[in-house]
Amino acid sequence: MNFDFSEEQVLLKEHARRLLEAECPSSVTRKVLEAPHLGFDKSLWKHVVELGWTGIAIPEEFGGTGMGHTDLCAIAEELGRVVAPIPFVSTVYLFAEAILQFGSEAQKRELLPRIAHGELIGCLATAEGPGYFSPGKAETRVVKGRMTGTKFPVTDGGTATHAIVAARSESGPGLFVVNLEGEGVSRTTLDALDPTRNLAKIAFEDAPCQPLDGGRNAGDRLAVLLNRAAVVVAFEQVGGAERCLEAALTFSSERYAFGRTINSYQAIKHKLADLYIKKEIARSNAYFGAWALSTNAEDLPRAAAAARIAGTMAYEFAAQESLQTHGGMGFTWEMDCHLHLRRSRQLALCLGALPLWREQLISCLEQADLIESGA
């Protein structure tokens, strides 16, 4: 039984934590919060690139370190803790994965090294306005290698150099790579609920694009991509939830009401016990996701959905109740509670909201009632 990070991964995590505590205190996140036009924090990004994190799951032949996805999960947890203001989800979990999974050899050779070296910032563009996105109903069209349509909101869409776009072509729904700095692309930045993550509307007008046509059908390709990213994001959520818990523990141990620190009241004690419970449930589900991700298990859709549901529930509860524990102070700009409140919602929505994932989980249970017995 080996259901935990390995010793090496624990060391990697500790290293990452120390580093991020130094390089990404909340003042760094706040720089972007106060000036959303920055899009992300360039110097933190540079640092992260230098450490090889953007290439951690990219094979060495394509310029990465080839360490693998469980290592990526370890890093993700630490980035989640500090509400890192960088396009890591978009570039690494989504764009790089899309190329790795579905790119041609040429695309891999062209794009992956640039991700590893931090030159390429990627994003995934699916939504076309409010509400659930269905690939089969996408109005963005590709005709003869040129894309026309409007995608919004796109996380990191304003700062990315490249996008994976879900669109429909002559041969049905598919994923396409677009150079956002090329012709036919115009972008508008949108106000974001979490201004530490850039949000944009991207209009394509006869923009050149390349299909990403790995072996599976189109609906599946997007689903596989979202499943893989959901596992890694779940680790960000676990990290965020844990940080919220720690902040609430610290604050409540220092705040007095009626002559006692408020952490001596059961209302606070049991609230934080509930938070701890949700966080541990999320961690265990995330571990299962990491196993499925790193082994390309058939179980991935179920594992990813469970990790995402538990991660989202834990981080949102943590952000809400940590703020609540901070009382009036928690609702001020100067405290970090709202960074987590915003980010927890951002992570909950960026890969599609919970109703979609709950439905996926139950479909998996229905389809494969026997999977578990093999585990």
């Binding site: 659930y132 609920l193 201004p195 220092e254 009401a257 006692r260 703020l323 700009w333 599609g352 909201a353």
Partner: protein
């Protein structure tokens, strides 16, 4: 059971309706009033003056003070009709609901003669200065100090900081709770004053909230001189006065707080459904949550009708009204998350600046979190329900018989 007014109440309602129809000025959701504070203040004052002229400003106050000596149900009827037309702005709520009644109960004759009428007419706005950075749930923990001036004038010199003061920046007067004796247990060394917000040494700094708005203020007292004639109640007897003020705190119940479940249904009906079929309103999970949330919010609205029934019978409303804020605030938060979920990725876009439906739910997203704290946290309110309504024992208090000073020292050494 019915919802009919008694004959007397119906006649009053009819009279109010006619008067409102003839005199109404602007609606508060008018773009200008929503976005321009000075326009809002100007309109609010004009409207308040009109109401005062017609004796609708403070219906239950004695005629001598500008009221009409009316019944509580009449005030409720007026509020209802005014709200229906969107005419109320809330600028005077704290002043006329909490501060001025305190002045009326505890100030001397001359002071009342000077302050009450202009407040009622909306010529002067009041704010309430109780909370402090280290006295939130525990109001009696205030540290703002008042000491007698050493010039023998009998004036008090006030130093300290208040926080979460709504409207401090446009208020003319405030009532302020300060510590006059740190050598007795904390409830016993407090005194209440009214204060001119333009007095030297008072500075008002808006608080930047988590939502990036600025609705509240910090108020700094820096050697502010307050004449003893502005004292409300006894020296060191301020806790009694504060309890009087807080008892008058009006708890907003029901529909007024942000977008609700019906708005959510409307939003869902315009959004695509799960799996690309139908609308988001067709999902069974959405419908179940909507049903349970609706029942809670509708239950609150109906609970308020029970209170109105008591008022119209000349009785005191029952303890069930204590549930209002704790339920309403949580519902604000829950409904916001449901709405952002069905907006899916679009829920990440911030439309709070506009009056759009998504923007209203994003407003809920932040204000649901805020309202679970403001005016008493969920935890404090559940304590109040369990203690005052259900008669359960108070939490064990370790600060009852300790002087405020030693309490502060104990804190300092352990914190």
């Amino acid at each position: 059971m019915d919802f009919k007014d008694s004959d007397q109440d119906a006649a009053f309602r009819q009279q109010v309706r006619e008067w409102l129809a003839a005199n109404a000025l602007r609606r508060r959701d008018d773009e200008d009033l929503r976005t321009n504070e000075s326009a809002l203040l100007e309109y609010s004052k004009a409207w308040q003056a009109k109401k005062a002229d017609a004796r609708y400003a403070c219906i239950t106050w004695p005629e001598a003070w500008g009221g009409r000596g009316g019944r509580l149900i009449e005030q409720a009827i007026f509020d209802e009709e005014e709200e229906k037309l969107g005419l109320d702005t809330g600028v005077f709520t704290i002043g006329l609901g909490m501060c001025v009644p305190t002045v009326m109960a505890f100030a001397d004759k001359a002071t009342k003669a000077r302050l009450v009428a202009p407040a009622l007419r909306g010529e002067q706005i009041w704010c309430q200065l109780f909370s402090e950075p280290s006295a939130g749930s525990d109001v009696a923990g205030v540290r703002t100090r008042a000491v007698l001036a050493d010039d023998g004038s009998g004036d008090w010199i006030v130093d300290g900081q208040k926080v979460w003061t709504s409207g401090a920046h446009y208020s003319d007067f405030g009532i302020v709770l300060v510590r006059t004796n740190p050598d007795v247990p904390k409830h016993k060394g407090l005194t209440m004053f009214w204060v001119d917000m333009k007095a030297q040494g008072i500075s008002v700094v808006p608080i930047r909230q988590a939502s990036d708005q600025r609705d509240f203020n910090e108020v700094y007292f820096n050697g502010v001189r307050i004449p003893d004639s502005q004292r409300l109640g006894e020296i060191d007897g301020g806790w009694k006065v504060a309890l009087f003020t807080l008892m008058n705190e009006r708890v907003t119940v029901g529909g007024a707080m942000g977008a609700g479940w019906r708005d959510l249904l409307k939003l869902a009906q315009g959004l695509p459904g799960l799996g690309g079929t139908g609308t988001a309103a067709g999902d069974g999970a959405f419908r179940a949550r909507l049903a349970e949330g609706y029942v809670m919010s509708e239950g609150l609205r109906l609970t308020r009708l029970r209170a109105l029934t008591a008022l119209s019978r000349g009785q005191t409303p029952g303890p069930e009204n204590s549930i209002g804020k704790v339920v309403a605030a949580r519902q604000m938060q829950v409904v916001a998350y449901e709405a952002l979920d069905i907006l899916d990725q679009y829920g990440m876009v911030n439309e709070m600046g506009s009056h759009s439906l998504p923007g209203r739910f994003q407003w809920n997203f932040f204000w649901g979190a805020a309202m679970r704290i403001a005016g008493g946290t969920d935890e404090i309110l559940k304590n109040i329900i369990s203690e005052r309504v259900l008669g359960m024992p108070a939490d064990i208090r370790v600060d009852r018989d300790v002087t405020f000073k030693s309490l502060s020292e104990r804190r300092a050494s352990s914190g």
